[in-house]
């Protein structure tokens, strides 16, 4: 076997990997939809908290927006499948999914169990006003999802997601010092805005890319 043969295979792997990585940016539309829902939903929630309006106004608008994002995902996935012939998944998708399951599901569940354990919850409720408690819970999620974002950035080699994750961790520290009541705005302006902007950027990059395929003879 000649060295040239191995080089050709490596070139092929690199070229195809590059095309698929660029095409995966079409998923930016889905990220943008979720980012917009979280941005708007949590900013409304923040206003509800600051204006001392009934809490269910915040919950109702957030839930409605998340449902809208879910419905949009179905349509956008269909649109992407129409454009590309596939939506995503594969090796990278599985790795990212597993990483999110480990951080958000595994870490989040453990966090909630610890938080609601009698000794911790009693200590928290005796020290903080009720409005601050939900902000404290959300601050914990800022840390968990921030780690999730950073892991996603590492796996997918995306600087943008690493920066979003870092911004979430920094904002959690700020919220802890300034006031837990601002956790909603912190989550909205890091995770929500970050996903919205990165998603739109990725999609516009996908629209600009024009490489069609590789010659295999």
């Amino acid at each position: 076997m000649e060295a040239r043969e191995i080089e050709e295979r490596l070139e092929l792997l690199e070229k195809l990997g590059g095309i698929i990585r660029r095409e995966r940016r079409a998923r930016g539309l889905i990220h943008a939809a979720w980012g917009a829902a979280i941005l708007v939903g949590l900013l409304i929630f923040q206003a509800v908290e600051l204006l001392s309006l009934p809490w269910y106004y915040g919950v109702a608008s957030l839930v409605a927006l998340l449902i809208a994002a879910m419905v949009a995902t179905v349509f956008l996935a269909r649109k992407i499948r129409g454009q590309l012939g596939y939506v995503g998944g594969g090796w990278l998708g599985r790795k990212i999914g597993a990483a999110w399951a480990a951080t958000a599901l595994g870490g989040g569940l453990a966090y909630m169990i610890v938080f609601w354990s009698p000794s911790v919850s009693q200590a928290v409720f005796s020290q903080l006003p009720p409005q601050a408690v939900s902000g404290l819970i959300l601050t914990g999620w800022l840390i968990i999802d921030g780690i999730g974002c950073m892991v996603q950035g590492v796996i997918s080699e995306s600087k943008a997601f690493r920066w979003i994750g870092l911004a979430m961790l920094v904002s959690a520290i700020l919220v802890a010092h300034v006031g837990f009541i601002f956790a909603y705005a912190a989550f909205a302006l890091t995770f929500g805005l970050g996903y919205l902007l990165v998603g739109l950027r990725d999609y516009s990059e996908f629209k600009r890319s024009s490489e069609a395929g590789v010659e295999i003879g």
């Binding site: 191995i6 490596l10 092929l12 792997l13 990997g17 995503g88 998944g89 594969g90 395929g213």
Partner: protein, 111 residues
């Protein structure tokens, strides 16, 4: 000498089925996108329908690939997906390729 033996061993252990350029390209795409239809594979691999179909059949016969047929509206659609055997073979192929590269580098640096 040990490097040369390592290189020769890795070369002989390369999966010949996947080493063929078209089949390697098909496996690479399916490894990264999970499922793809025939037209998508044709779009990404500029090759003839006959050539692509032949290689897909070879991979299917080897148990590396499975075919799913479904209807989208009234149109029939054939989707291709790597089996777990195919995914494992592809990952092993990449490891062997990396081994060959490393052994080649070692030989080069000693020369």
């Amino acid at each position: 000498m040990a490097e040369a033996e390592r290189l020769a061993k890795a070369v002989t252990e390369l999966d010949k089925l996947l080493h063929e350029k078209a089949r390697l390209a098909i496996a690479t795409i399916l490894f990264h996108v999970n499922k793809a239809d025939f037209n998508t594979l044709r779009r990404l691999l500029k090759t003839s329908e006959g050539n692509l179909a032949t290689h897909l059949y070879t991979l299917e016969e080897a148990g590396y690939l499975k075919v799913e047929k479904k209807f989208v509206g009234r149109k029939p659609q054939t989707l291709y997906k790597l089996t777990s055997k195919g995914r494992k073979a592809y990952q092993e192929y990449l490891l062997k390729l990396a081994e060959i590269l490393q052994a080649g580098k070692d030989i080069h640096s000693k020369a």
